[in-house]
Symmetry: C2
Subunit: 340 residues, 2 copies
Amino acid sequence: MATLKQVAAHAEVSVQTVSNALNAPHRLRPDTLERVTRSIELLNYRPNRNARSLRTSAVELIGYCVPSWPDGQAHLVMDQFLHALCTAAENTGRHILLFTAPTGLDGMPVYDDLHARRLVDGFVLSQTETHDPRHGWLKEQRIPFVSFGRVWQQTTQPGPYVDVDGASGCATATRHLAETGRRRIGFLGWPRTSGLAEDRLSGWRRACQQLGLPTDGLAVHCPEDTLDAGADATAELLDATEPVDGIVALSDVLALGALRELARRGLTAGTDVGLTGFDDSPLASVVSPALTSLRQPMDRIATALIAILTATPGDGAEPAAPADRLLQPELVIRGSSAPG
Amino acid sequence: MATLKQVAAHAEVSVQTVSNALNAPHRLRPDTLERVTRSIELLNYRPNRNARSLRTSAVELIGYCVPSWPDGQAHLVMDQFLHALCTAAENTGRHILLFTAPTGLDGMPVYDDLHARRLVDGFVLSQTETHDPRHGWLKEQRIPFVSFGRVWQQTTQPGPYVDVDGASGCATATRHLAETGRRRIGFLGWPRTSGLAEDRLSGWRRACQQLGLPTDGLAVHCPEDTLDAGADATAELLDATEPVDGIVALSDVLALGALRELARRGLTAGTDVGLTGFDDSPLASVVSPALTSLRQPMDRIATALIAILTATPGDGAEPAAPADRLLQPELVIRGSSAPG
DNA sequence: CTGAAAGCGCTTACAG
DNA sequence: CTGAAAGCGCTTACAG
């Protein structure tokens, strides 16, 4: 492995000049730059990142805690997110360092340690929970971070974030069902203690109200995000005196539960009942009829996360406008919401 | 941030002694160690990893290329694999660095660069293709790596690997179907140019022969790993003069295609036809009936990968026996193979 | 068992 | 525009 010194000797300049050729080429005279560049290529020189990091105390590495899930509950769009995050990081010359940590406050010593030992410059948080305690802790420790997802605090969000506009997404899905002729559209949600659930619910309610459609008794709060819960809630909506003809589900899993319950009753999604999910997970295109779902714009999310995390205070690209932090999901229309 | 120097001053010893307290505590007198340890804790000292890496030229980081998939084709068990890999790496004091690269030989400059700049010590390869060119290239460059998956070369495997015993797994699945009363068991595979497909096919064939069951005309090679391909192949097996009553599918996706085709014909998996998949992906437990599938032992795979990659030549833990490199998948039995 | 010193490979004021 | 020198925070032979 060639070093800076060897390149300098080969090009007959000082090491400082070689360093400049790499990091501030405009400081060199064109002919010097040319000569140094040739030596660099000839010797196949690559700067040692550890030496650089030691000097600059920036490692260009971003920590991401790989979520663990209770048995079977896979994170269905994680590979999309990770790929997007990786690409966005690489576009700024950085990389993602993966680690595991206990959930909640118990995991914070791990974050602290990675930062203190200078394995990472900062963190991207995801799997953000309602009232997630990590954000406040990191902020207090002055450890750089950015969150995918809001903590849904009453007060202000502790630290920067990017999120998907779930309310707007569910409103879009609701309007879509209305446009395909549905007049009684139910909502499959989670318990109201979840900020995310509340947000998506509000979008459905707002759209219904604007369209003059009923909402009373049409929102069911599933105790957990499982097929069974989704199926049970769907049964409830179908057994009502006035059954629904459309269902906006807060997640693909709940929507799949709805799909199962419909099939069990001999009903067809898309024909008898319009149905939409959320996340556009791999499950959505696998079922039959395929599931209409709201896709999170992972590339834009990742780019925004990295941009915020790596923004140097005072470079003008300061506090992103709220609109930049709340990205719109895209409705991917499939058979489950075909015109009835 | 406290440095070694500051800790040394506080404990009234040399920096060398503090370093030893951390890396070779047995060299210190107990009372010295005690005093130094107290200073370390008091000052909340954490060794700077960059300085250490610069000196030792080992970064304790392992590169993993996050796969990108053509639209929709998600890597359904990637989150399981990544979590296991992360945990295994952390158990040896290491971490995973994520990166993206073009597939095949085109990506090798990225690997080379990460290694040359000392961002990683080596690589874990997955998504190993039949005749994967990466292995030979890395070996030639003397860049440390270990592969999840075999390259299926005629000659010897270039470099160390860990893999799942697909042949044995499919034999197990076949015997399982036979035990539940199936007598005519088909196989849903991929084209025979795939080493992995050939391996799994051989397990099915071997088991059928041992059980005295027919195999002639019962293996279908699906052109691609999609639901449609699986459904078409299943139709072929069911439309034969003597239709099958059992199906071993090489992947969960193909099995899901089979499930769809069965349902379309009013047949029920588990009752009319026994069916198994491979991977135990999140899809398996979501469909109805749920899919019996072969689960890859991710924790053991990851542990073996890291152990092989980080084995220092000459520490006795040398060449793993073939048995340690070929792990057995576990048959997770669900409704699709319920006794008929 | 403990310490003084060199050095890993860079970057960065500071001179010239 | 270019160079000599200091220093980032560690570890590692080498003495004592």
